[in-house]
């Protein structure tokens, strides 16, 4: 239903005066560097990656908050990459986002009901009674019950989990088809996470909303998503059905992530593969395979040639020369 085609978001770096005088080219941060992704109706796709992998920027580009350098955003096959004004407003009615930090994403000076009603006012939907009805329903769907207890409160009177529910309600009040959830639970206590996740699963079940779930936590992605996409340095390294990707990872980066995933069963602890080094700077993406500087399996070809995306099984794609080879342990 909604898709990204070769999406690129590059931010130009500011040159120092010295660099300018020496005539050095303007550097760019390649936050997102060619991402293809599709979300079907009612599907939950998790976008997993370390910080700096470009997953948040991808989500922001999807809701047209980040400036898109190249590539396309398609909604129902229609190119919405360059739309503005009225068309963009209509688009935003269908594609909503909730942010990571529930303490920052609510206006401290408006009541909960006002915040949730605001998108309806912006979009010019319904009369006062209709809006009130929809606000109540959105709050109820987000698990803020009884609604009367929350309507007239201010954000600072609520806990983090409640605030995130308000953020969900104000996104869902427009009844969008697509919801981008940018690390919606990472700032919350672990005990509150399941509640928020359940709300999102309910929304998918009852409203058929497609969710792009952005997280750095692979186990969380496995728990909630139908499909998982693993991002590294602005690119999708591996994508596939959640179950397949976790059981049979084909990209060394995915394997490394999986190996450090905590397992509740001590008997099944895998050998941990701790990656050496840090994610390279997004302004200096390595040539060839962008993962080769940290890859335990890297060989000469990886340093010069970008590996193609290989479809291992239907729907399971990995960008690695060794994707179809049986997994081997590094020496």
């Amino acid at each position: 239903m909604i898709g990204l085609r070769g999406l690129r978001v590059h931010y130009p770096l500011r040159r120092s005066l010295g660099a300018w005088l020496r005539g050095e080219p303007v550097g760019v941060i390649r936050a997102v560097d060619g991402v293809d992704l599709d979300l079907g109706r009612g599907e939950i796709v998790a976008l997993v990656g370390e910080s700096g992998s470009g997953k948040t920027t991808t989500g922001r580009a999807l809701v047209r908050l980040a400036p898109i350098t190249d590539g396309q955003v398609l909604l129902d096959g229609e190119d919405v990459t360059r739309i503005g004004g009225r068309a963009l407003r209509a688009y935003r009615r269908r594609v909503q986002i909730i942010f990571q930090d529930p303490y920052e994403s609510l206006d401290p000076r408006r009541t909960i009901a006002q915040q949730v009603e605001e998108p309806l006012l912006v979009q010019g939907l319904g009369d006062a009674a209709e809006r009130a009805r929809r606000v109540d329903r959105a709050l109820d769907d987000a698990g803020l019950r009884p609604v009367e207890r929350y309507r007239d409160r201010f954000p600072h009177e609520l806990s983090g989990g409640q605030r995130q529910r308000v953020a969900i309600a104000s996104a869902m009040v427009l009844e969008p088809d697509v919801l981008v959830a940018d690390e919606p639970v990472s700032m919350l206590d672990v005990s509150l996470r399941s509640g928020i996740l359940r709300v999102m699963l309910d929304l998918r079940a009852h409203r058929d909303v497609a969710i792009l779930f952005i997280t750095h936590d692979l186990s969380l992605a496995w728990l909630i998503a139908d499909r998982i996409a693993v991002m590294y340095l602005g690119r999708v390294m591996e994508i596939g059905p959640a179950e397949t990707l976790v059981r049979d990872p084909r990209h060394p980066y995915t394997r490394a992530l999986l190996s450090v995933m905590p397992s509740p069963d001590p008997a099944h602890r895998r050998e941990r593969r701790i990656l050496r080094g840090e994610t390279p700077d997004a302004s200096r993406v390595p040539p060839g395979c962008r993962f080769h500087t940290r890859c335990p399996l890297a060989f000469d070809r990886c340093r010069t040639e970008e590996p193609p995306s290989v479809e291992v099984t239907p729907g399971h794609v990995a960008a690695c020369f060794l994707a179809t080879e049986p997994p081997t342990d590094p020496a």
Binding site: F99, E104, D107, R109, E118, Q123, E157, G161, G195
Partner: protein
């Protein structure tokens, strides 16, 4: 109004606006300086509103008895034309405060609009609006005011306009910098993601969040405006059909009140200017605290999580817990 709100019971807590008044009042009451400023302002406000009504027109008092010294009949004496200076001062209070408040509000409107637009829109808008602001900022205020007043003629509304035009740049700069920080907050992104236009975000998200600063700034601008009006009138470019503190000072100076020892002519308006300017400055300081949302209503804590699962029995229970006062962070005013 404030004392009624302060006495309101706790159900009023749910209603933000009344609560804000209660809070504002409690902050002012707690701070001796702003309380003093508030008292001075209330006294002057009463004089300005009720004084002229009670005292009647100026000329009624002492026809053809010029340059009298203070007496019971004429508390501040009379001027060269035999006007009662006490009455003149009362009327002047009304005019001076009116000029100060109206000019400041005008100046705040211009400054806030410029500041928010420059700060939120950024880029080329920011550059052009701020160059314009800088242009007005570096102009010598008094000279510009003199020139404008001379060109446009000495009427009350012109003086107000002159003051407004020359005093907005400072406000614009302050509001712009605050807007820059508000713009980066997530709820602005959220508003943008719902499809809100820039104009709407500036009005609904940015303005309310810089409004505290606007108010705090207004009190300071009023002080400056009253001072400027006094100066302009003293220099003879103020309105000639009404009396203000500045005009009284101007006339006393022309008549040589200082050398004649007619202290009651020039001391009262001088003291009045100093007192009002001081009072606005004192109150303005308290606005910083009043409008910081983090300092508001510390008592109301978060309610229970809606999904909290009941584990059946207590996992942890605390009974008769007490904290020594010296260790209690709440009481240490942290």
């Amino acid at each position: 109004m404030t004392s009624a709100a302060a006495a309101a019971p706790s159900p009023a807590r749910r209603h933000g606006r009344r609560d804000a008044w209660t809070h504002a009042w409690s902050v002012i009451r707690a701070d001796r300086q702003s309380m003093l400023g508030m008292v001075i302002l209330v006294v002057f406000a009463i004089i300005a509103i009720a004084g002229p009504i009670l005292a009647g027109p100026i000329d009624r008092a002492g026809a053809n008895r010029p340059m009298l010294d203070p007496s019971l009949a004429h508390l501040f004496g009379t001027d060269r034309s035999g006007r009662d200076l006490f009455l003149t001062n009362i009327w002047a209070t009304q005019v001076s405060l009116l000029v100060g408040v109206v000019a400041s509000i005008l100046s705040m409107v211009i400054g806030t609009a410029m500041g928010i637009a420059a700060g939120y829109l950024g880029g080329r808008w920011d550059a052009w609006l701020m160059r314009l602001t800088d242009f007005f900022y570096v102009l010598p205020t008094l000279v510009l005011a003199l020139v404008l007043a001379a060109i446009m003629g000495p009427s009350l509304s012109n003086v107000i306009l002159v003051i407004a035009v020359t005093s907005w740049p400072a406000t614009a700069r302050v509001i712009r910098s605050q807007t820059l920080t508000v713009r980066e907050r997530m709820f602005v992104d959220r508003a943008r993601a719902t499809g809100a236009s820039s104009a709407r975000i500036m009005r609904r998200q940015v303005l309310p969040n810089v409004f505290g600063l606007v108010l705090a700034n207004t009190t300071l601008t009023i002080a400056g405006a009253i001072f400027l009006e006094t100066t302009l009138s003293f220099l003879g470019v103020g309105p000639r059909d009404t009396y203000s503190w500045g005009r009284i000072l101007d006339e006393s100076f022309e008549a040589g009140a200082l050398t004649l020892g007619k202290w009651a002519w020039f001391v009262p308006p001088g003291v009045a200017v100093v007192l009002v300017v001081l009072a606005f400055t004192l109150v303005g300081g308290a606005f910083d605290e009043i409008l910081d949302p983090r300092l508001r209503r510390r008592g109301a804590g978060p309610g229970a999580e809606p999904d909290a699962t009941d584990p059946g029995g207590p996992l942890l229970s605390i009974e008769s817990l007490s904290v020594p006062e010296s260790l209690d962070p709440e009481r240490r005013g942290g």
